[in-house]
């Protein structure tokens, strides 16, 4: 039976980092990124191919412990920030789990949509769909934080490749 879910790379940050970039992940159908994540401020931004053009938008479904809600940020809000996980899903105190599914990332005909499952047990839990309006195949993923934040030391990020055959 072929292996369909493989670790491409994993990294644990030894110090706070402004950016973390993954590349060289060809040969799969889909990608899954699993983060045991803490930051120093802001939300988490993920830029495919380090693209800083104003192509990003998100819609979220979330619960903050007292109410469920949905909202969105368009290209006018996000500009070139990247696929974006708002700061309410991120913690500066505890390492929380964030999973990112990037489907059909090598195709060159469709815009790229990802699905994010995010958890902060002290703030907000929910899911986010994020869009990048680019048909380019994704060859790298660059992670950073906005609001001057950094990915915190101890954060573990693992990139899995899923092969459909």
């Amino acid at each position: 039976m072929p292996v369909t879910y493989s670790t491409i790379t994993t990294t644990t940050l030894g110090s706070n980092q402004s950016t973390v970039t993954f590349s060289s992940f060809g040969g799969y159908t889909d990608l899954r990124m699993v983060l045991n994540f803490k930051n120093t401020a802001g939300g988490l931004a993920i830029r495919p191919n380090s693209n800083t053009s104003s192509i990003y938008s998100i819609t979220r479904l979330s619960g903050n412990g007292s109410a469920a809600s949905s909202g969105r940020l368009g290209t006018a809000d996000l500009g070139g920030t990247g696929w974006y996980v708002p700061n309410v899903f991120c913690s500066t105190t505890n390492f929380n789990l964030i999973t990112v599914d990037v489907m059909n990332y090598t195709n060159t005909t469709t815009f790229k949509t990802i699905l994010v499952r995010a958890n902060d047990s002290a703030d907000t839990v929910g899911e986010i769909v994020a869009l990048a309006q680019t048909t380019s195949a994704i060859t790298s993923l660059e992670l950073s934080c906005d609001a001057g934040g950094q990915l915190a030391s101890g954060t573990t990020i693992t990139l899995y490749g899923i092969a459909a055959a």
Partner: protein, 170 residues
């Protein structure tokens, strides 16, 4: 190329039981994933999850829907366990709820964040149908056991099953 998911242990109940437990979980994996198909043998639906038999330090925040409205709630660090919801005996016969716990860095010394999803469709209104949970166990110990029970003394129904996987990242 190694398998990423490895089955550590599984349990399928031949008769109704109060608990589903996994012990002696080795610290050789990076993450744990527990996948459960379950149903209450009576009316209880709230599944209680404990690590290392500890009854303190848990907190949870959730987003759920019951077929008519979405809502969110939370419990602070006074919880004695983590939570999920399953089907009860009052729901459509033979319907089992599903939930999954994902525990990154379960053997590390940080507090343990746990992400869980649950789904309980039963072709009827009422009950918690679907939800997401962000959990935290504020404890630096490696997780070496997991115990599931249902509140109010409800047993798990026969044919409930749980599969515990270890995830290796290299």
């Amino acid at each position: 190329m190694p398998n990423t998911f490895s089955l550590i242990a599984s349990s399928t109940l031949g008769s109704a039981q109060a608990n589903i437990s996994f012990s002696s979980i080795p610290s050789i994996y990076t993450d744990l994933c527990l996948k459960v198909s379950s149903r209450g043998a009576s009316t209880g639906t709230l599944v209680l999850v404990q690590f290392n038999s500890s009854s303190s330090g848990y907190q949870a925040r959730w987003l759920d829907g019951d077929g008519s409205a979405a809502s969110s709630g939370n419990n602070s660090s006074t919880l004695q366990n983590l939570m999920a919801w399953t089907q009860s005996s009052s729901t459509t016969a033979n319907t089992f709820g599903n939930f999954e716990l994902y525990i990154p860095n379960y053997a590390g010394s940080n507090n343990k964040a746990v992400s869980s999803d649950y789904a309980n469709e039963n072709n009827a209104t009422g009950g918690i149908a679907y939800g997401l949970l962000a959990n935290l166990w504020s404890n630096s110990d490696a997780i070496n056991s997991i115990s599931l029970s249902i509140s109010g003394g409800t047993n798990f129904a026969a044919n409930s099953s749980a599969y515990l996987y270890g995830i290796v990242k290299s």
